[in-house]
């Protein structure tokens, strides 16, 4: 669906994107993550041709975006919806007029335009507010209207630029649920730019992390969070390390959709069946889309390490031994 190869973009002499390679499949909800200035919003705007790029290739359904000009580019943009952090609603237009505007620009028949606008407002739960002005709405309601407007021309791709960054956690959750529902109903491809890790965990199945205009890592969200925590340290602003004592072994037990078959009662089984005492020293669980996954690190005496490893392997649990000295992960 979206194929990006060796994409480079400069603002003046300053490189903003350097050799980006990403593949986004149809129906994916794909996260572009990075700290401020990482280049994620620029990359998003390259996808719908709002920002031109100098080198590399960016193809949507096999069409090279840099080759589109004038009318062709405008027609392409109408097939890619976009929502913004600051909602971008026209303050002097009613909710209905805002949703109608893209269709008006595309010269839709007036009756069809009204029908589609009301249908979209019903989809986002804002039909009863169609006569309201944006200033009469809350942040969450404004973003719902923005989603309805972005969906007006029935796009095949929806770009979300920090769409929930200006919203409180409860409203963020409701907007994410709305986006997931739209994805489920229409199989629309979504590219979500955010620096909020909870948003990525909640909605995205795959993600790329950008840092200083370069691609740091790409892959499944759960895989990156569980197996590549070092890639997230810049974003989380906290260390993924924990204090370690000499003479202790540290084993990380993974609970994920593909980490092992028997993870449900593994800790209690370990305690009961081996009689080994252990401490839980680090870890946590989180919801990734509809799966709960995470890790727990247990500390045991060095002498009992082999016995625990054998037990976990026999139980087909997902696990790995962490390095005992120096604080570096294996």
């Amino acid at each position: 669906m979206i194929e990006i190869r060796g994409l480079c973009k400069k603002f003046g002499d300053i490189p903003v994107l350097q050799g980006i390679d990403i593949d986004i499949m149809e129906g994916d909800i794909y996260g572009l993550v990075g700290v401020s200035g990482a280049g994620k919003s620029t990359l998003l705007r390259c996808i719908n041709g709002l920002i031109p790029y100098e080198e590399g290739s960016l193809q949507v359904d096999g069409v090279e975006i840099s080759g589109l000009k004038g009318r062709q580019l405008r027609e392409f943009r109408s097939s890619v919806g976009m929502i913004f952090q600051q909602f971008s609603l026209l303050e002097r237009m009613t909710v209905l007029e805002n949703v109608c505007l893209p269709m008006k620009c595309l010269k839709y028949d007036k009756k069809l335009m009204m029908e589609k606008a009301m249908k979209n407002l019903e989809l986002v739960g804002m039909a009863d507010k169609h006569k309201a002005l944006p200033r009469e709405l809350s942040g969450g309601q404004k973003q719902r209207v923005a989603v309805a407007r972005a969906m007006a021309s029935e796009p095949k791709i929806l770009l979300c630029d920090e769409a929930t960054s200006a919203l409180d956690p409860n409203i963020t959750q409701s907007i994410l649920e709305l986006l997931k529902e739209i994805n489920r109903k229409s199989n629309i491809t979504m590219v979500v730019v955010t620096h909020q890790m909870e948003v990525v965990k909640n909605i995205c199945s795959k993600m790329s992390i950008l840092s200083h205009g370069k691609l740091k890592i790409s892959g499944g969200v759960e895989d990156i969070f569980l197996n590549h925590p070092e890639a997230l340290s810049e974003l989380l602003g906290e260390s993924t390390e924990f204090p370690r004592e000499k003479g202790k072994a540290y084993i990380e037990i993974l609970k994920s959709s593909d980490a092992g078959k028997n993870t449900e009662c593994i800790l209690s089984a370990l305690a009961i069946q081996t009689g080994i005492h252990f401490d839980i020293v680090w870890g946590g669980l989180a919801k990734y889309c509809d799966e709960v996954a995470g890790n727990l690190v247990i500390s045991i005496d060095d002498a009992q390490s082999e016995q625990v490893q054998k037990f976990l392997s026999e139980k087909q649990a997902g696990w790995r031994l962490l390095e005992q000295k120096g604080g570096e992960r294996v």
Binding site: R74, M82, S88, C105
Partner: protein
């Protein structure tokens, strides 16, 4: 002088000429100012179609015309006024002079209103496939209406001042009345009557501007 003669023979005819000059000048200034403002807003370095050459030329013309004091400009463009209007006195010639002097001011005021439009709105319009004309009409012009109303109210008051000053070079109207009766014949009654009428006109313009702003905001 009786009040009746003051009002019917002096003030009202002058007021009529002033209103004609003022209304027609406002219309011509708004049309020409709007065109120049749109050129400035779209060709500036952050505009829809940045064009350094066009922006530089239009901006320089506006700056030159705005640098010349109104009365000096009226006199300086007398040959042009004669060529265009066939005369250098009367309402028609004054309207031409006022248009040349006030259009650049209107252009700058409207340009500043257009610049206040949030660039994110323009980006959003581009993102759903709007073309340049649609962006200019639906986003730049429509979203800047409240600010433009405030700025244009100021312009209307300034243009009223220009019509009075144009009386010095034979335009007629309240400016000519004040000059002829008040300055040359030391008739304080006529002089201060014109001042009161001008104050009332400015009050009405500002009041109307405030009402329109409240409605379009």
């Amino acid at each position: 002088m009786t009040i009746d003669r003051l009002i019917n023979s002096i003030i009202l005819p002058g007021l009529g000429s002033t209103l004609i000059m003022h209304i027609v000048s406002c219309i011509t200034c708004f049309v020409i100012g709007l065109i120049f403002a749109l050129i400035l807003a779209t060709t500036n370095p952050h505009g829809l179609n940045p064009n350094r050459l066009v922006y530089g030329i239009v901006s320089t013309i506006i700056n030159v015309l705005r640098s010349i004091p109104f009365l000096i400009l009226l006199i300086a463009i007398i040959p042009v006024t004669r060529a265009v209007c066939g005369t250098i006195i009367g309402t028609k010639a004054a309207i031409f002079g006022i248009t040349v002097a006030a259009s650049p001011m209107v252009a700058r005021l409207l340009e500043s209103s257009f610049k206040e439009v949030n660039p994110v709105l323009i980006e959003a319009a581009k993102s759903f496939g709007a073309n340049d004309l649609q962006i200019i009409y639906h986003i730049i012009i429509k979203e800047s209406i409240p600010s433009a109303v405030t700025n244009l109210t100021m312009a209307v008051v300034n243009i009223l001042g220009f019509t009075a000053m144009a009386g010095v070079v034979g335009a007629g109207g309240l400016g000519a009345v004040a000059l002829t009766y008040g300055y040359q014949n030391f008739d304080d009654l006529v002089m201060y009557s014109t001042v009161v009428v001008l104050i009332i006109l400015v009050q009405i313009i500002q009041w109307a501007g405030n009402i329109i702003y409240a409605k379009v905001k």
